[in-house]
């Protein structure tokens, strides 16, 4: 929309020619200048500039919808009013049906906690036919760290949906719907994104998984501002992809330790400074999500996976509709299993903290901890 040509907007010929003569070709160029700047540049009076800008604005402006028509559209056209059920009852209820379409859902947690397992399960669920609760579509899985295991995918499928997966052709068809991409660098990833945009509409893609976002930039820069700026374009692009195609997009993120300099206070909260020093020494193993605060604002749903006293939890840390609930879970041969469907409600900013206590004991796939 921003790159719409002024020559195609139906402005009166005289003013359209003046715009072109002064190298103002797209709406973006025209609207980036103030009205007085345009007056100077185009050498026309204020009245003409005002009406030209109003005309351009009206054309570039997005159309409106009432919230009611938005809802009716989704209820009519989309699976479960726009949700992908995760088959984890407690989580699905909290999220009003499942992972929502059209927005970014982030999975963040320490290494080995189960993020990739979650993604594998979701990919499977999206490829299943509708009568089994799936989206009956293709999945694009961007595997940055080479963690995608097709063997594990089939194992999850066989254990969760034996009636489908015991027939070899069905298993082949389901697995054939999952397309795995392995970009080796950020620039390759950028290219793949452009291609994905094209194939999204053609190939019935119903889910996009990016595992993991943080790994794409970790290798490229040390820390700080450059990383956030690089991702800025990608974040907007992925969000707009999600919205136009109305598909769920799941992104995984890593954690990093909280540095000393970091604080979460405003200038008017300075009086509680003494308390925070004590807090910091107490929580030395304090982890935070990588990619910064800009990213945290950009995602719509944030699911935190953590380990506390040897038990894994999945927490709904940020969601426009769900209360801050934490569900204990285990990783089983059929994916992720919630131990309780009634989440524990957490108050305060604790929902955002990521613990990693007693975690190493439970990464033991061959042992007795797998129930």
């Amino acid at each position: 929309m921003a790159n719409k040509q002024i020559s195609q907007m139906g402005l009166p010929k005289s003013i359209a020619n003046v715009f072109a003569a002064r190298n103002v070709f797209t709406a973006k160029d025209a609207l980036s200048l103030t009205e007085f700047e345009l007056m100077e540049l185009l050498d026309v009076g204020l009245a003409q500039v005002t009406s030209a800008v109003a005309h351009i604005s009206e054309i570039v402006c997005p159309p409106y919808q009432t919230a009611l028509s938005l809802m009716e559209l989704r209820v009519q056209n989309e699976h479960l009013a726009g949700h992908l059920p995760t088959h984890m009852k407690g989580l699905d209820e909290a999220l009003c049906g499942g992972i929502p379409f059209g927005v970014l859902t982030e999975l963040v947690g320490p290494a080995g906690i189960g993020k990739t397992q979650f993604c594998l399960k979701l990919s499977l669920l999206a490829s299943l036919p509708a009568n089994y609760g799936g989206l009956d579509g293709h999945v694009i899985y961007i595997d940055v760290e080479s963690k995608f295991s097709s063997r594990r995918l089939i194992e999850i499928g066989v254990k969760s949906f034996p009636e489908i997966f015991h027939r070899k052709e069905m298993a082949q068809e389901m697995a054939g719907r999952i397309h795995v991409l392995r970009p080796a660098s950020l620039s390759e990833f950028t290219e793949s994104l452009q291609q994905i945009k094209v194939s999204l509409l053609q190939n019935q893609v119903k889910l996009l998984v990016i595992d993991s976002m943080a790994a794409l930039v970790t290798g490229e820069f040390e820390h700080g501002a450059p990383r956030q700026k690089t991702l800025g374009w990608h974040v907007s692009f992925i969000k707009s992809l999600a919205e136009f195609s109305r598909i769920p997009v799941v992104v995984t993120n890593q954690v990093r330790s909280q540095s000393r300099d970091e604080t979460c206070h405003y200038f008017f909260q300075v009086q509680s400074w003494n308390e925070t020093i004590e807090d910091r020494t107490r929580h030395d193993s304090h982890l935070v999500a990588a990619l910064g605060i800009n990213w945290a604002h950009a995602v719509t749903i944030r699911l935190v996976l953590e380990a506390k006293s040897g038990q894994r939890f999945i927490k709904v840390a940020k969601s426009p509709i769900a209360p801050p609930l934490a569900f204990p879970f285990n990783i089983t041969s059929s994916g992720i299993l919630l131990l309780s469907d009634d989440g524990i409600e957490l108050t305060g900013p604790d929902i955002n903290t990521i613990h990693c206590q007693g975690h190493n004991d439970i990464i033991n796939f061959g042992g007795e901890s797998l129930q």
């Binding site: 609207l31 007056m39 204020l46 109003a54 604005s57 008017f268 509709i321």
Partner: protein
């Protein structure tokens, strides 16, 4: 009045000055054809210049000898006007108290906070509360919700709308409003119908939309609140030219203020946070920089205080700095449930 201040094109201005006309009075008494001959332009063009000049002259009011300035309003009239417009409640009594009753119409209010603190929740709550009928103390207006991030969830709006109607029926029952005219016939779908939703995908669209709002609101005169969620998003990604960003943002702020004043509606801008290095440590502050922080009339910061959410009035021409607790429940924004509820004055 100087010729340099007239809103005419640069070449016309330079022709006037070259011909020796530096002030308005020097050519206002001429006939258009005389001016046309002097400047070597067509009669129509000269007539146009004189029309623009006399219009500006009238606005200037310098020829008048009555002592009051054209276009100004006395403070007394403004006070009366303010009392006419009720404020938009936030459904949280403590928050309403520190805001002086609620969000004010005719002003731009900026609300910022960390992710997950409840900015979108507050935005949706206000979009619904503006529709509370006049009989129940509201404005009975419609809302425009400009979504730049895709965070508006219709299911949540429906939830909050249902809770609002429930609360109103309870209230109506208590006050015994059982006359036919006051019977509450609202259905959540009616409320959703009155929220105009725009989804903006780039900063160009954002600017275009704000330019277009003037026309839109003249066609939909009952819109009483415009919410932008969030005003920051597109200005934070990929902006190399900071000076351009500042110009665009201040242009946008001015247009929004004009909208608020002309149509007597409330404008609520939701903002994100960033960290800033002040006095040897990093502190949280609202995004978009220092120049933007001057643009809005009122500024409210939402933050975590221990386990509770608080709102702090950072900047306001008439309210004192205070903070109040609030909570986000399944019904929307409500009073905080803690026992020691008190408003902390700074």
């Amino acid at each position: 009045m100087e010729v340099g201040r007239l809103p005419i094109s640069a070449s016309q201005r330079s022709k006037l000055i070259a011909a020796g006309y530096t002030t308005l009075s020097s050519f206002s008494s001429l006939s258009p054809s005389h001016l046309a001959r002097d400047l070597k332009i067509s009669d129509n063009e000269a007539a146009e210049i004189m029309r623009v000049a006399s219009h500006s002259h009238r606005l200037d009011g310098s020829a008048g000898g009555c002592g009051t300035v054209n276009g100004a309003q006395t403070a007394w009239d403004m006070l009366h006007e303010e009392e006419m417009f009720p404020r938009i409640t936030t459904s949280c009594e403590d928050l309403d108290n520190i805001l002086g009753g609620g969000i004010n119409c005719k002003e731009v209010t900026e609300i910022g906070g960390v992710p997950g603190i409840g900015k979108t929740q507050l935005g949706i709550q206000l979009a619904i509360n503006v529709q509370i009928p006049v009989d129940y103390g509201g404005l009975g207006g419609k809302a425009i919700y400009i979504d730049t991030e895709g965070s508006f969830m219709v299911e949540r709006a429906l939830q909050i709308a249902e809770a609002c109607i429930e609360d109103m029926s309870e209230c109506g029952g208590l006050l015994r409003k059982d006359s036919q005219a006051c019977q509450l016939k609202m259905h959540p779908n009616n409320i959703l119908e009155n929220i105009f939703y725009f989804r903006v995908c780039s900063y160009t669209e954002q600017i275009a939309l704000i330019n277009y709002l003037d026309k839109f609101i003249s066609e939909h005169k009952d819109v009483k609140i415009v919410i932008v969620d969030s005003v920051t998003f597109h200005f934070r990604q990929d902006f190399d030219d900071m000076a351009l960003r500042t110009r665009l943002l201040s242009g946008m702020a001015l247009k929004l203020m004009k909208l608020a004043k002309d149509f007597s509606l409330a404008v609520v801008l939701l903002n994100q946070v960033t960290t800033k290095y002040i006095d040897g440590s990093f502190q949280l502050t609202l995004a978009l920089g220092d120049s933007w922080s001057h643009s809005c009339t009122n500024r409210v910061i939402l933050y975590w205080n221990g386990n509770e959410r608080y709102a702090y009035i950072d900047k306001s021409p008439s309210l004192r700095s205070a903070s109040a607790p609030y909570s986000v429940t399944s019904k929307g924004i409500r009073n905080s449930a803690s026992n020691c509820k008190r408003i902390k004055m700074m």
